[in-house]
C-alpha cells in the first residue's frame, strides 16, 4: 500500500528536507543577486522548480488516468496515484502562481499580467481544482475512477490548447531561460546550479509526499469499502435474512 519501501520513504523525507535547507542557503545567500532584477530574482529558485513539479505531477496524473482507462492495465493503483498526484499538482501550481506574483510585483510593477504563461497556469489551476472536486463526489470507486480519469485527460489536453491560443498575444512573461529553442541555456554559474538544485530538492519532496498521499488514498478507500460492507451486513442481519454464503474480498487490490 505504498509506492516506496517505508525506510526509503523516511530517508527520502529527510533528504528532501536537507536539500531544501541547502537550497535556501544558496538561494538566499550563496547565489549572487541578478544584474537587472537584484535580489527579487531569488524567488526564481522556488518559482521555477515549483512550476516544473506541478507539470510533473499533472503528467503523472494524466499517465495514471490513461493506464486506468486502458482495460489491460486497469487497477485501483493508477486511480489512487492519479488522485494523489493531482492534489500535489494543485498545491505546487498555487505556489507557482503566488510566488510568480511576489516576483512580478517588484520587477514588473504589477501583481498580475494577462500574458500566455500566467493565463495558462491559472486555467491549469482551475482545471485540476475541478478534478479534485469531482473526486470528492460520493460514488462507487470504479465510477469515480473512470469519471476522474476522463476529466484528467481532458484537462491535460486542454492545457496546450490554452497555451497555444493565448500565445498569440504578446508576452510579458520572460522567454524560456533553460528550454530555449536552441537549448542554449541563458543561465550560468552558481545561479544555474542553484536552479537545478531547486528542481532536485522539489522533486525529492514531491516523490516523498506522493508516496504518503498515495498511502492515505489507499487506506481511506479500504476504510470506505469496509464501512460499506459493515453497513450492508447490519442491514441484512437486521432484516433477518441469511447472510450471503460468500462475501467478496474487500480491499484486496493494492
Amino acid at each position: 500500500m505504498t509506492l516506496l519501501h517505508p525506510r526509503l520513504a523516511g530517508a527520502l523525507g529527510w533528504t528532501s528536507l536537507a536539500a531544501l535547507v541547502v537550497l535556501a542557503m544558496f538561494g538566499l545567500w550563496g547565489a549572487p543577486p541578478d544584474r537587472v532584477q537584484s535580489d527579487a530574482q531569488r524567488l526564481m529558485y522556488l518559482h521555477v522548480p515549483s512550476a516544473w513539479i506541478a507539470y510533473l505531477a499533472f503528467g503523472v496524473t494524466a499517465l495514471s488516468s490513461a493506464l486506468y482507462l486502458w482495460r489491460r492495465t486497469r487497477s485501483p493503483v493508477w486511480d489512487r496515484l492519479a488522485g494523489a498526484s493531482a492534489e500535489l499538482g494543485v498545491l505546487f501550481t498555487a505556489l507557482t502562481l503566488v510566488l510568480g506574483s511576489l516576483w512580478g510585483r517588484p520587477v514588473w510593477g504589477v501583481w498580475w499580467a494577462w500574458d500566455a504563461r500566467l493565463v495558462t497556469t491559472a486555467v491549469l489551476f482551475f482545471l485540476y481544482v475541478g478534478y479534485l472536486a469531482l473526486r470528492r463526489v460520493p460514488s462507487a470507486v470504479e465510477t469515480r475512477a473512470k469519471r476522474s480519469a476522463i476529466a484528467a485527460l481532458i484537462a491535460f489536453v486542454d492545457v496546450p490548447i490554452v497555451h497555444f491560443s493565448v500565445n498569440w498575444w504578446r508576452t510579458l512573461h520572460q522567454q524560456a531561460t533553460v528550454f530555449t529553442p536552441s537549448l542554449n541555456a541563458h543561465i550560468h554559474g552558481v545561479m544555474a546550479f542553484t536552479l537545478w538544485w531547486g528542481v532536485l530538492a522539489f522533486t525529492l519532496l514531491y516523490v516523498y509526499l506522493l508516496d504518503k498521499r498515495y498511502r492515505l488514498e489507499a487506506l481511506e478507500e479500504d476504510r470506505d469499502a469496509r464501512e460499506l460492507a459493515q453497513a450492508i451486513d447490519e442491514r441484512v442481519q437486521g432484516a433477518g435474512v441469511a447472510a450471503p454464503a460468500e462475501r467478496a474480498e474487500v480491499g484486496a487490490d493494492r
Partner: protein, 39 residues
C-alpha cells in the same frame, strides 16, 4: 537585500505552505492508520 520583503516573504510563505501541507498529511495518515488497525 533589496526587495527583502518580497524575497523573504516568498521563501517564508513557501516553507510555511509546504510544512502545513505535510503536517496535515501526516495527521490524516496517522488517523487512517489508526482506524485501519482498529478494524
Amino acid at each position: 537585500m533589496r526587495f527583502a520583503g518580497y524575497v523573504i516573504g516568498g521563501w517564508a510563505l513557501t516553507g510555511a505552505v509546504l510544512l502545513a501541507y505535510s503536517l496535515r498529511l501526516w495527521q490524516r495518515l496517522r488517523r487512517a492508520e489508526r482506524l485501519d488497525r482498529e478494524a
